[in-house]
């Protein structure tokens, strides 16, 4: 059988469309089927992409939205100043428009992030070196403070004193850096 569209190549795709009870048969070659949008794109995953699933997940928040309606403004009218994306658009597309969207929609993000990342809402991995100088120190400081508490609890005061000195010098360093950055 020859493809009914191009009338050149052999038809390899055969299917029947039923619209309002009206039956139409198609016999097309792969190329024409693709051109006429009868086939998925060549990796066949556009209809079931992660972003579609994600958009579904974001819309699923409707009941919660009503609950918070009194406390917060309706999120649908929220709009990012930098890129003009609205919260409603974000839930449709499943993607942010720019860095500032994260700040604009910040209030509504934790439940979404929790659902996507097994309950996590805060980063605990790599920090860029360039802007990370101060962040690195703060992280180190937090770890040391925790260590200090553990040592005190175990009554290892000599080592605790060492850690305390380390904490002090880190705090000094942070103060200096803080002024330098301003």
């Amino acid at each position: 059988m020859i493809c009914q569209e191009c009338k050149q190549r052999p038809a390899t795709m055969h299917f029947t469309k039923i619209v309002n009870g009206e039956k139409t048969e198609f016999h097309l070659c792969e190329q024409c089927a693709k051109e006429h949008g009868h086939m998925f794109t060549f990796y066949g995953n556009d209809d079931f992409s992660l972003n579609n699933l994600l958009a579904g997940l974001l819309n699923f928040q409707a009941p919660m939205k009503e609950m918070t309606a009194n406390a917060f403004p309706n999120p649908d009218v929220l709009q990012c100043e930098t890129c003009q994306m609205t919260y409603h658009q974000f839930t449709q597309i499943g993607r942010f428009g720019c860095v500032n969207c994260y700040r604009t929609f910040a209030r509504y993000l934790p439940p979404i992030l929790k659902r996507l990342h097994s309950g996590n809402t805060a980063h605990s991995g790599k920090i860029p070196k360039r802007k990370g100088g101060v962040l690195h120190l703060r992280k180190q400081l937090a770890t040391l403070k925790q260590k200090l508490q553990e040592l005190v609890a175990r009554e290892e005061f000599e080592r605790a004193a060492e850690v305390r000195d380390q904490i002090r010098s880190l705090e000094d360093e942070l103060r200096r850096r803080g002024e330098g950055d301003m």
């Binding site: 992660l50 972003n51 993607r95 720019c98 993000l109 097994s118 805060a122 980063h123 991995g125 802007k131």
Partner: protein, 363 residues
């Protein structure tokens, strides 16, 4: 172009080299998603912004060499032929999304094809390192070093609490996707895979076919990757995946031994029948080719077939994809023509093995 020449230029290092556990793990990949401050995300950036980003990377990185990976070359999607783009997708060097839906997309590709940096895909850049065998930690180290190098020239979008900001909330935090490509024929044959996949999914990992989301597991090859990018460190994400992969390797090995014991000569028969098909076919569809290649590879791993290199599965799974076949043919092919070409290419490749073997014997 002679077959051997085409073949040698088509195969990248990760396909032909062996790595740890490479009887089961074909490759390890690390991808880092990064964005640059002052530009809107590719979701809705202007073509002007897109061009500026490409220009920035072209100016800063194109033609520069990086460690042992060689020089970077910048490929603009708008300047490539559809077949060329498809070949890059089939080699896993760029994503289908970059090839098809990113009009201002580009890619910085290292000479050894171990590193590719996709530009203007879903995020401004996606750094990707591809290693043979199970080498997740090594790939992470390489990707992270490259990340530091790039960071010396651009200002990344980073938030103290949320980490690296990405256009999709599924990647925020580390922006890290670690994945391994595994050949699991015995788990498929014993149908254990049907129980294993849901279990893996519950652990926050994703199992997919070879070419990503929604693709079929052709040739019993599965891609396993992390889903969660926020709240865990890069090292922990990779270590968790590594642990699961090692368990899968153990299960696959056990299933292979069980198959050898229970099926014996029947398994050997299946392997050699598939070899017979590949060595003699004149027309073959990609699905059948993938299944036969998987059987032959299993036969090599089990010692039934000798004198054929193991990489035949990695190489031919990729070289028999439509893009490669068309590049080899030097033009567009209809699906039926592809099936003829595919059969010819597989036969050629197997003959190449014989030639190599004979040369080896003479020496």
């Amino acid at each position: 172009m002679s077959f051997e020449k085409f073949f040698n230029t088509a195969v990248s290092a990760w396909m032909s080299q062996e790595g740890p556990d490479s009887d089961i793990v074909l490759s390890s990949r690390i991808r880092l998603a990064r964005n640059i401050v002052d530009f809107r995300f590719p979701t809705l950036f202007s073509s002007e912004e897109a061009k500026q980003i490409v220009a920035l990377f072209e100016r800063t990185f194109a033609h520069r060499s990086y460690g042992g990976a060689g020089r970077f070359e910048l490929l603009k999607m708008s300047e490539l032929q559809p077949i060329e783009k498809r070949v890059l997708v089939e080699k896993h060097l760029i994503s289908p999304h970059l090839a098809e839906d990113s009009p201002f997309g580009a890619c910085l590709l290292s000479e050894n094809e171990e590193i590719s940096i996709m530009i203007n895909e879903e995020d401004h850049i996606r750094i990707q390192c591809l290693f043979p065998g199970l080498q997740l930690a090594e790939a992470l180290e390489a990707a992270s070093e490259l990340d530091d190098w790039i960071e010396g020239y651009v200002n990344y979008a980073f938030d103290e609490r949320l980490g690296y900001l990405t256009s999709c909330p599924t990647n925020v935090g580390t922006g890290l996707r670690a994945s391994v490509m595994m050949h699991l024929p015995a788990l498929v044959m014993t149908q254990q895979i049907n129980r294993i996949i849901p279990a893996i999914n519950q652990l926050g990992l994703v199992v997919r076919g070879t070419y990503g989301e929604g693709s079929e597991a052709l040739g019993n090859i599965f891609q396993i990757s992390n889903q969660i990018t926020l709240g865990k460190s890069e090292e922990d994400i990779v270590a968790d995946l590594h642990t699961i992969v090692q368990q899968l390797i153990a299960q696959e090995r056990a299933a292979r031994q069980a198959l050898v014991k229970t099926l014996g000569i029947q398994l050997e028969d299946k392997v050699f029948r598939s070899y017979g098909i590949l060595a003699n076919c004149r027309v073959i569809e990609s699905k059948e080719a993938a299944q036969c290649l998987s059987d032959v590879r299993l036969g090599i791993d089990l010692g039934y077939i000798k004198n054929i290199s193991r990489n035949i599965l990695n190489e031919l799974m990729i070289l028999t994809q439509p893009g490669f076949l068309q590049q080899y043919a030097g033009g567009a092919l209809r699906p039926e023509e592809r099936d003829v070409r595919r059969a010819a290419l597989i036969r050629e490749r197997l003959k190449m093995e014989d030639r190599r073997k004979m040369e080896g014997d003479e020496r």
